[in-house]
């Protein structure tokens, strides 16, 4: 027992090693948060372009660009994209690694969000579109006030899933030497030659974050379901 307490002390207390975890957590949260925002923006944009093209035949060029984006991003590994972003695209710039990570993870997530949102838009009955248009609302207004709110509600579980994946995916940030939560645990492991405690601490923190996120989405889902009551 005292040996375990000794290990705990060595892992977290000595040299303020717990700070690797808190600082890492901070970076993980920053990267994940802004990547989610970027992913949502990109995803909605791409989804609206793609479904507008499918519905009306307009936006041919934009649609083609979106398709290339989806193919490339979904067809290559996240880590490779992160490395390319850091060493090739921003290779000759001195630039914040956090910024690079947000960009790489956001652009990656956007591709998956786009297809989720597109499936949501497609799930809405065409009559909703016609009702909006028949009242004189133009295409963008019908999209914003009639289609997207309903689509968003339908895709919320899938979106939550994507955000959970994204949050955990940021654990590869160590590849560009960004000291995120996972990297923090790894630094402690390397310093103390003790793997169990830091890695389980890291895993536990991710788990708590995901459970919190799930709870949050559950609340939002319940709020949005007001119109479902019969």
């Amino acid at each position: 027992m005292s040996e375990f307490i000794e290990k705990l002390k060595d892992t977290f207390i000595v040299d303020n090693r717990w700070r690797y975890l808190t600082e890492g957590l901070k970076i993980t949260l920053i990267v994940a948060f802004f990547a989610v925002i970027l992913g949502l923006l990109l995803g909605f944009l791409v989804a609206v372009i793609r479904s507008t093209h499918d519905k009306t035949g307009k936006l041919k060029l934009a649609n083609a660009i979106c398709r290339i984006y989806l193919t490339v991003i979904r067809g290559t590994p996240m880590v490779v994209q992160l490395l390319i972003m850091y060493f090739v695209i921003f290779g000759s710039f001195r630039i914040s690694k956090i910024f690079v990570a947000v960009l790489a993870f956001g652009i990656n997530s956007g591709a998956y969000v786009a297809e989720i949102v597109r499936s949501g838009i497609m799930s809405i009955d065409n009559g909703q579109f016609e009702a909006g248009r028949s009242l004189g609302l133009n295409y963008p207004k019908t999209m914003i006030y009639v289609i997207l709110p309903q689509a968003f509600k339908n895709i919320l579980p899938a979106l939550a899933n994507e955000f959970i994946v994204l949050l955990k995916e940021t654990s590869v940030s160590g590849y560009i030497a960004l000291n995120d939560l996972t990297k923090g645990g790894d630094i402690i492991r390397a310093a103390t030659y003790e793997a169990f405690l830091p890695l389980f601490a890291v895993a536990g923190i991710y788990l708590i974050m995901v459970m919190f996120l799930t709870k949050l989405v559950g609340l939002l889902e319940r709020r949005l379901s007001a119109s479902d009551r019969r």
Partner: protein, 241 residues
């Protein structure tokens, strides 16, 4: 008010409307009947350009709108209310918001004005206590009455009804027809695609029989039902009456 000249509409190789011409006057109540697949709904949907005609012209108040630009079409649609078979209420919005969405978002009314108008319309359609409920809580007949109120909120000059009672349980058909009769009595110009022969007989100023993409006969309801000329119409009436 609406002039239809040599209207044709094809979906791919399927010719749904074949060279149709007719005229709808202000205040008229035109009821269109005919077997399914005859092009009734497509004809109606061409009037407010929900379907773009393949050939021919739609002239609304002396203006050729067939090739109108998108924003012009939107302006025209404000003046042509449309009621759908499946109501198409916005399920994520309360009844009040369903009614006020278009007038407010199009900048025609302030929110307060639109709310006031919504209450008036809810009185008109006999559902004043439903303002804050969601469409899912209503019966089919109530939904359709709200859909009519939603169209009326734009103060349209003409109302297009696309089989407004076909999706309703039989006991709810009456309440919707009553409301439509009320509208007709107030002088609204109406074009109604329906299978309700009683409504056609009672309310129509003109009944139109369509089959295979053509208007085969049109006449006042008295003549239309008692003295049909076209053989297809005779067969049709003998089946439905």
């Amino acid at each position: 008010m609406i002039d239809v000249k040599n209207l044709s509409k094809s979906f791919g190789s399927l010719e749904v409307l074949k060279n149709i011409s007719t005229h709808i006057d202000k205040g008229e109540k035109v009821v269109i009947i005919g077997p399914s697949g005859s092009g009734k709904s497509t004809f109606l949907r061409c009037l407010n350009l929900m379907e773009i005609p393949t050939e021919g012209e739609i002239i609304f108040e002396d203006k050729n709108i067939t090739h109108a630009k998108d924003h012009e079409i939107n302006l025209i649609r404000r003046r042509m209310g449309m009621v759908f078979q499946h109501f198409n209420l916005f399920p994520h919005l309360t009844i009040r918001k369903n009614i006020t969405l278009a007038p407010v978002k199009l900048g025609i009314m302030t929110k307060a004005e639109a709310d006031k108008r919504a209450y008036e319309l809810l009185e008109t359609v006999g559902l004043p206590d439903k303002a804050d409920e969601y469409p899912n809580m209503l019966s089919g007949g109530q939904k359709q009455r709200i859909a009519i109120a939603r169209s009326l909120a734009m103060n349209p000059d003409v109302m297009l009804f696309d089989e407004p009672t076909s999706a309703l349980d039989p006991e709810m058909v009456g309440e919707v027809l009553e409301l439509m009769k009320k509208l007709a009595a107030e002088g609204m110009t109406m074009v109604v695609v329906t299978h309700e022969m009683g409504f056609a007989r009672e309310v129509a100023s003109r009944v139109m029989f369509m089959a295979d993409g053509n208007i085969l006969e049109e006449n006042n309801p008295q003549e239309f039902f008692t003295n049909p000329q076209n053989q297809r119409l005779k067969d049709f009436l003998s089946k439905v009456l």
